[in-house]
């Protein structure tokens, strides 16, 4: 599968990269030997249950926990007010122009803002007893008017969720590229449509969960957590819990020499690596925040000083994780409450979120309204686009990132793979009494949905086919080098047009037309939908600075590769695998680079005591380009060192030496070799011992990804078959032509694409986080929140192009694209089938028959 003749293929020593090797994690996971947070039950562990608001919006007038405290097996009940004494509020993390980020605590004390808002935590000897006691907590609520929709949030008379926000619009900012007014005025036509995407939820198979173990002797916390980023959680817990008086913290800092030294060394390193990023930070964001609410300055100060005054930070250990799709990236209020409770009790406490909690506030996404105007010439040439985007972020902002950053990603990606003279996007974020809006696989995806939907609308208006208008406007090889109207440069990795051309070859349009006619005769409607996109995976070097200046400093990623004295290879990554097969794919990359067997390589992740620092964890389709890039460069350097050591033993020049299956020898003379284990043993005997892990060979490196280019692209084409009697939609064909560069593991890539498409199918046909007009959650169990099963997912054909990039590490991300392309392809196909305008992303059978004119909307 690897492109022949490519340098990578030549350097590929064991030939593992490009093969669907047997997955390393399968034996463990398929035999039930995986260890998830829920599997850990240390002796004497206590269980936490959160008391949650039954109302969407209310003031708490009183809370009586006396009966709960007396209940059998109860060790503690902590109220919101008490929690506020123990923890700092979540501070604004990314301050953006035009944005206000409210501050909030782990538990609510005065006011509840959604059904499920935690107001107290009960800690008892079992989950059963804790739930019994939670029933006894008596809270008096004074109901407030609810804000249940974007429209209500925009109304100036809606009850503000956050007093200091001055309404429910939390952000309002416009980004303009080019002279939009002039281009609109000059274009032949302007076509406008509004698209609405209802709320969905990430829904990993494993819910969130945390076990906070407290060392009785030292008080040190070890947190086992289903997190996508263990280092982020570690620092968030360190920062927000263990609240102390500022003077105490300062005194502790000043009198602890070791801590002082460690802090200044850390600060120096941070500033050193991020000099450019820090310089680019602008002040407009903090000023916008200050204008509404100065309190964050004091809190940030206390948090910073508090961190300095701590002698010990928690260890986070994450092991097997049953999926996340973004929902385990943010730090949860529950995570903070749990750590604070365990610390105060000096006892280990566990919380496993149940599915109803997960559906209430485990993370929701995608609720967006997008009004798109396209200025177009009569020959179908796109001139400019204007977008009015409104995101419903729910009650509490995602931490550290949520809707505001996602508006920025949408801003950059909206123009897609097409040529435009100008572009403008107004981005608003509103607060409503609903669950937390967080990133969901391809968090910016609705730019693709709205754009690709709109392109079909424009094609229809101009009498062109969807394929014609796309091919006419799409950036092709002739346009290179170029850049998106929103900034990022475009190189040959943006092969979207080739994927579209290939997809069109794979579809027999004449046959489709014949099938269409035949179906119509039997009460069915066939439709064909196309969607094209590109995503930054990782994107060109300037990509993140186009999102927002300074955010580029999140890109670099560190890895460590070591060879132990027994010859085994350990690769330490800050990535946090939760279903993506890192243990296999990184082992393939490292083994190929080193020339050892895949079985000799073990990937170490999730343990903050052992793995390199990094806040990004796993997400953002970074695992292939950045994470694997770091693995590759460190493994390459280890190989160089091994060969150098062996050169003396072999009395040969390093240039003549190769490593094959762990045997180091002069090329072509394997019989006279030494093994990696022998070289490692010799080095260990000679006293070689690395600073980081004490291994005889040890290389750490930070990989930037910059210069690798790296767009991952695809075209989705699907055919839908709609039964006009029932409104049921099936897929006679679904095909994806994708290009993520050279493929490490074809089956894993196909799995990522298919899983993403499955979630896209879920988004359109099954999944909706439904709230009623008073913001009561209507889909609080799996009877009502419908995740598609294998029975609902068709065969998905995946075809690959493997365009090489000029960069050094050629792997590009592929984790998110399936979900980005699918809703657009499916809704386009449904519009084509029914001949009725589709402006919502959610099309259950009722909606299908309403669109078809079979039933009257009710």
């Amino acid at each position: 599968m690897t492109a022949p003749g490519h340098p990578q293929a030549r350097e590929n020593r064991s030939g593992l990269v490009g093969q669907s090797v047997r997955r390393v994690e399968d034996d463990r996971l398929l035999t039930g030997a995986g260890v998830f947070v829920a599997d850990r039950n240390p002796d004497g562990v206590l269980h936490a249950v959160f008391v949650r608001s039954p109302l969407a919006h209310a003031r708490i007038t009183s809370i009586d926990v006396a009966a709960a405290r007396r209940a059998p097996g109860v060790v503690a009940v902590i109220t919101g007010a008490e929690m506020a004494e123990m923890t700092h509020p979540f501070p604004p993390f990314l301050m953006l122009p035009g944005l206000y980020t409210p501050l909030f605590h782990a538990l609510s004390a005065d006011k509840v803002r959604l059904v499920g808002d935690p107001v107290a935590v009960v800690i008892a000897e079992s989950r059963y007893l804790a739930e019994d006691a939670a029933d006894l907590v008596d809270v008096d609520y004074e109901p407030l008017p609810t804000v249940a929709s974007i429209a209500e949030a925009l109304s100036p008379t809606s009850e503000p969720l956050w007093a200091k926000a001055g309404g429910n619009v939390m952000m309002d900012h416009t980004d303009t590229f080019g002279d939009v007014d002039a281009v609109f005025a000059a274009a032949d036509r302007v076509i406008t449509e509004r698209f609405d995407c209802p709320r969905q939820s990430n829904q990993p198979m494993e819910t969130r969960g945390s076990l906070v173990e407290v060392d009785a002797a030292t008080g040190h916390l070890t947190i086992h957590n289903a997190t996508q980023s263990s280092h982020l959680l570690r620092w968030a817990v360190a920062a927000l819990t263990g609240k102390q008086r500022t003077t105490t913290a300062l005194k502790r800092f000043i009198t602890n020499k070791q801590r002082r030294r460690a802090f200044f060394a850390g600060a120096k390193q941070f500033v050193g690596t991020n000099r450019d990023g820090l310089k680019e930070q602008d002040n407009a964001g903090p000023l916008a925040q200050l204008k509404k609410d100065r309190s964050f300055l004091g809190h940030m100060n206390k948090i910073a000083v508090g961190l300095l005054g701590k002698d010990d930070y928690p260890t986070v250990k994450a092991q097997d994780i049953g999926g996340g799709f973004g929902s385990k990236g943010p730090v949860a209020r529950e995570d903070i409450a749990l750590a604070a409770a365990a610390t105060s009790l000096g006892r280990s406490v566990k919380w496993i979120e149940d599915r109803t909690e997960n559906l209430m506030d485990g993370g929701q996404a995608r609720e967006e309204s997008l009004t798109v105007s396209i200025a177009v010439d009569s020959d179908g040439t796109f001139r400019a686009m204007r977008v009015d985007l409104i995101i419903d972020q729910g009650a509490y902002p995602g931490f550290p990132i949520g809707a505001p950053l996602i508006t920025k990603m949408m801003k950059v990606m909206f123009p897609g793979a097409y040529r435009w003279d100008a572009f403008e996007i107004r981005s608003r974020v509103v607060a409503t009494n609903k669950g937390r809006y967080i990133p969901y696989r391809g968090p910016w995806a609705n730019e693709t949905w709205a754009r690709e939907r709109m392109i079909d609308v424009v094609a229809d208006a101009l009498g062109m086919t969807p394929a014609e208008i796309r091919l006419h406007n799409m950036i092709g090889a002739d346009d290179l080098p170029t850049s998106m109207v929103t900034g990022p440069s475009i190189d040959e990795t943006m092969s979207t047009k080739q994927t579209l051309e290939r997809a069109l070859e794979l579809i027999d349009m004449d046959q489709f037309e014949r099938d269409r006619v035949a179906a119509a005769a039997s009460g069915r409607r066939l439709g064909l939908g196309i969607a094209c996109y590109h995503e930054a995976a990782p994107g060109p070097p300037e990509f993140w600075d186009c999102i927002h200046p300074g955010t580029g400093m999140l890109t670099p990623e560190e890895a460590h590769t070591t060879v132990e004295a027994d010859g085994s290879v350990l690769v330490y990554t800050q990535q946090m695998p939760h279903g993506q097969s890192h243990e296999t794919t990184y082992a393939q990359v490292a083994a190929d680079e080193l020339g050892v067997r895949i079985d000799d390589v073990t990937i170490v992740s999730g343990d903050t005591d052992r793995t390199p620092f990094g806040f990004a964890g796993t997400g953002g389709s970074r695992g292939g380009p950045i994470g694997a890039g770091a693995v590759r460069t460190t493994a390459r350097e280890v190989r160089r060192q091994l060969i150098e050591s062996a050169a003396g033993m072999l009395e040969a020049s390093p240039d003549d030496i190769e490593i094959v299956d762990g045997n180091i020898h002069v090329a072509g003379v394997p019989a006279r070799g030494v093994t990696v284990a022998e070289v490692a043993r010799r080095a260990a005997d000679d006293g070689a011992s690395g600073d980081l892990h004490g291994a005889p060979f040890e290389v750490a490196d930070v990989y930037n990804g910059a210069g690798d280019g790296g767009w991952s692209v695809a075209t989705h084409v699907c055919i839908v078959d709609i039964d006009l009697g029932t409104g049921l939609v099936t897929f006679p064909r679904y095909l994806v032509v994708e290009d993520c560069g050279p493929i490490i593991h074809p089956a894993v890539v196909d799995g990522q694409v298919r899983g993403g498409v499955a979630q896209g199918i879920g988004a359109v046909l099954y999944e909706r986080t439904t709230y009623d007009e008073d913001a009561n959650l209507q889909a609080a169990t799996y009877m009502d929140y419908l995740v598609p099963t294998a029975m609902e997912i068709p065969e998905i054909e995946v075809h690959h192009l493997e365009t090489l990039s000029p960069g050094e590490n050629d792997f590009r991300g592929v984790g998110e694209g399936g979900m980005v392309g699918a809703p657009a392809a499916i809704t386009n196909a449904i519009e084509h089938a029914l001949g009725a305008r589709v402006t919502t992303q959610y099309l259950p059978p009722t909606k299908i028959l309403e669109l078809a004119g079979v039933i009257v909307p009710g």
Binding site: R127, Y128, E131, D132, D135, D354, R355, T356, G725, T726, G727, L728, Y766, R768, T770, Q778, A779, T781, M783, D784, L786, P788, T789, M791, E792, P844, P845, T846, L849, V854, I855, V856, P857, G858
Partner: protein, 291 residues
């Protein structure tokens, strides 16, 4: 998601079980396959003080065919057992036809047919099969045995003629007439979900004339429900598309199904009509195939 405290009883005999129910009355619940009761308890929507698990009671798990071809199903017969039983396929084929629509295999392997009837979910298949085939439902309590007619059994949403102290021990389905045909059709959002709307139909046909008809709908009202006017329109008519369309029109006009987040009332009404045509066509297509 853990149930509130309750006392668990696992009687070895039917008499002991009935005594427990007599003692605890409204505060007790029978536990059969647990596929409906346990989720309700876990959500604390059901909070019985006593759970009487009938799973160990001998003699309740058989499917018996009577001398005249009637089929008696005991309280511990699992859904899956009826799906694979040749006796059921031969003598009570409508049950076998309904089974693939009931949940998923794992749930069918635990859930019981009588549990489903006793639970009385308006969107479940078995209550409609009961209405269409008119079996006799046999309920026992410590004070005696009661035979309940199918038409009297379902009172409302999750509400049946059973008293709190009773166990539904057997359901006796009448012999399947040689002239009978039937079908169970439904639409669910996903495979194995409760139906948005479904229909269980049983017709007897003489030549190509319909001599009797029972059309029972699920997901269309607060209980499974028959539509007598549509049935009357069928009786005496010939098997034809026009006949079925006419019945479907009556069904759509007479039913007023409730809306919920999964489907509107208009959708359900429309679907009931569509399923009427499809179900009757499927039922009568089978005659042709057999003949």
């Amino acid at each position: 998601m853990k149930p509130a405290p309750f006392t668990y009883h696992r009687p070895e005999t039917l008499d002991d079980a009935l005594d427990l129910l007599a003692t605890h009355g409204d505060d007790a619940k029978v536990l059969a396959g647990g596929q409906s009761l346990i989720p309700l308890m876990a959500l604390r929507m059901g909070r019985p003080g006593h759970v009487v698990d009938i799973g160990r009671i001998a003699g309740l798990d058989s499917i018996t065919v009577g001398a005249d071809g009637d089929v008696t199903i005991g309280a511990l017969v699992r859904h899956e057992q009826t799906r694979t039983s040749t006796d059921v396929a031969t003598h009570a084929p409508l049950i076998a036809t309904a089974m693939p629509w009931v949940a998923h295999r794992a749930i069918r392997s635990r859930g019981t047919v009588l549990g489903s009837i006793a639970h009385g979910d308006p969107a479940a298949e078995m209550p409609a099969v009961v209405l269409a085939t008119e079996p006799t439902l046999i309920a026992r309590s410590s004070s005696g045995v009661r035979e309940i007619a199918a038409a009297d059994f379902f009172h409302g949403y999750l509400d049946t003629a059973l008293r709190a102290d009773e166990i539904l021990t057997e359901v006796r389905f009448p012999a399947w007439s040689p002239n009978a045909v039937g079908a169970v059709v439904e639409v669910a959002r996903r495979h194995g979900d409760y139906a948005l709307v479904g229909m269980a139909a049983m017709l007897t046909v003489d030549g190509d004339t319909i001599s009797s008809a029972a059309l029972a709908y699920f997901g269309a009202a607060s209980t499974a429900i028959r539509v007598p006017d549509a049935e009357q329109a069928l009786v005496g008519a010939t098997v034809s598309a026009d006949t079925f369309d006419a019945a479907a029109a009556i069904v759509s006009a007479e039913l007023s199904p409730p809306p919920d987040i999964h489907a509107s009332a208009a959708y359900r009404r429309h679907l009931a009509g569509v399923l009427t045509v499809r179900g009757l066509s499927a039922a009568t297509a089978e005659i042709g195939a057999d003949a």
